[in-house]
């Protein structure tokens, strides 16, 4: 499709309709609550973004070894990694989150002496559970992706490195991993958006993210449409930013190979 396609007549009409719809919404609907809650929304937005970014970073760090051992072995570790991926991918993340927070969390008080340790202040916060659940989930999905990526690097490229006497770890660091990452890059944008869509679940374990704030707005104002539309718009914008970021990144990398 040509680049100038954006200015085809029907697209201009569609954009105009969209703008008109937005304007109609802005003018006809009840946004009186917005100023009052704006600070809360901003703060919660930060929570959402922080959880998203941190769980993605930590998740990828976990996913790399999880993907790798499934390709290289040793067997027991490969088996363990595979089980982990199956477990994570086979159960709803909402359930995983509840299991961690209400399930596991409810067992801690029974451990004698735990309350006196340094770890206790962390255990009583809600966000560490949200972070851990999101991270594990992302690691489970990306571990599978990384497995495919590691496996997909042509053997010859690794043999070329082996034949030059490179240390196995150097091969991993310099050849295998960069190549695997390069292969997953085109799909990673989609995975980030999936992770973004998982973040609102943290609201169910007492973490106040964007979703939770809008829940509260609905509860307190009893306005139904407007907060939901606004919320959808916020996620659309976040997803748009992710997509755009990856577009820019992809343009920077060699497009072939």
């Amino acid at each position: 499709m040509p680049k100038s396609g954006l200015f085809q007549p029907h697209r201009i009409v569609m954009v105009l309709i969209a703008i008109a719809a937005l304007l109609a919404m802005a003018l006809n609907m009840d946004w009186s609550w917005l100023p009052k809650y704006a600070p809360h929304i901003l703060k919660a937005l930060w929570v959402t973004v922080a959880l998203l970014v941190s769980s993605i970073v930590a998740g990828i760090f976990l996913a790399i070894p999880i993907g790798l051992v499934q390709v290289t072995g040793p067997r027991p570790l490969a088996w363990l990694a595979l089980s982990f991926c199956t477990l994570i991918r086979g159960t709803p993340i909402l359930l995983q989150m509840w299991l961690l927070y209400y399930g596991l969390g409810s067992l801690f008080p029974y451990i004698p002496g735990l309350r006196q340790t340094w770890i206790w202040p962390w255990l009583i916060e809600a966000w560490p559970y949200a972070f851990v659940a999101l991270t594990l989930s992302f690691a489970g999905y990306e571990g599978e992706v990384m497995r495919g990526a590691f496996k997909g690097v042509p053997k010859g490229e690794l043999e070329a490195a082996t034949a030059m006497g490179m240390h196995p770890f150097t091969i991993l660091r310099r050849i295998w991993l960069p190549r695997a990452v390069q292969r997953v890059l085109p799909t990673l944008g989609g995975e980030f958006i999936l992770q973004l869509k998982a973040t609102p679940l943290v609201a169910t374990i007492a973490v106040v993210d964007v979703f939770a704030v809008f829940g509260r707005i609905r509860q307190e104002t009893f306005i139904v449409y407007e907060p939901l539309l606004m919320l959808a718009l916020i996620y659309l914008v976040l997803a748009g930013i992710i997509t755009l970021g990856f577009k820019l990144l992809e343009n920077k990398l060699p497009s072939r190979g």
């Binding site: 409810s106 009583i124 809600a126 169910t204 007492a206 939770a212 509260r216 509860q219 307190e220």
Partner: protein, 234 residues
């Protein structure tokens, strides 16, 4: 015609809890039964997430909210209420010996759990600016976290907390530190049945039935099964 009575899916003992067969039981359920009998209404219990109970009423998914919903100004703007059918205060429960007190100063720097969307959340955010408020989907989860030591205190209906304090866990960990100061604008005029505006006929039937069971002793009979004091208030 059947009247759909909306109750919250989340456990709210001793007022309403569900068992494995999705049979709801508790004081509030018994009262609804009695009222429906009295008013000769064909009632059906419909469980709805607490978080969406008012939208459900407005979206015509249910006709009556019977979920310990306080009558207050904010809500009166959107929905209508029957007369109150019980009224209790809000109190704070905290770990034994924690030193928490039911005043703004007494909770400063502490973490307080409240049920998201409840009047207690509104109260806490207005009166306890120095405390950290943590929102739970259900009061039950707040209680669990109080027991687990993940929050310092919880603010809720005194009767709900009494139920918790009488459980094994509650007895072990926590104590009632007293009622918070009343604010009628928030705490309202007691607990009533929520109705869509304009349903005056239904509202009148409910009001008459409330009066009737109060008069004929059914109300006290049911209450005696759960509580050893008067919960109707003034």
């Amino acid at each position: 015609e059947t009247v759909r009575i909306g109750v919250a899916t989340e456990a709210y003992p001793p007022f309403a809890t569900s068992d494995a067969s999705e049979n709801y039981s508790g004081w509030e359920i018994d009262i609804i039964d009695a009222i429906c009998d009295e008013a000769a209404l064909d009632c059906e219990i419909v469980a709805t997430a607490w978080d969406g109970i008012i939208p459900s009423l407005l979206a015509d998914k249910i006709d009556v909210i019977a979920a310990s919903l306080s009558i207050n100004e904010e809500r009166l703007k959107v929905i209508d209420f029957s007369n109150k059918y019980y009224q209790t205060g809000a109190s704070i429960t905290a770990a034994v010996g924690s030193g928490v007190e039911p005043t703004p100063e007494g909770v400063a720097g502490r973490t307080i759990g409240v049920q998201s969307g409840s009047i207690h959340q509104t109260y806490a955010s207005q009166y306890f600016p120095d405390a950290t408020i943590r929102e739970y989907q259900t009061q039950d989860e707040a209680n669990q976290d109080l027991f687990a030591g993940r929050i310092d205190a919880t603010l809720a209906d005194v009767l709900v907390l009494a139920e918790f304090l009488s459980s094994d866990e509650g007895t072990a960990c926590c104590e009632d530190v007293g009622l918070v100061a009343n604010d009628e604008a928030i705490h309202g005029l007691g607990i009533g049945f929520g109705l869509r505006k304009g349903e005056d006929e239904l509202k009148q039937k409910l009001n008459e039935a409330i009066d009737a069971i109060r008069e004929n002793g059914t109300y006290d009979e049911i209450t005696a099964k759960y509580f050893d004091f008067n919960i109707f208030g003034e």
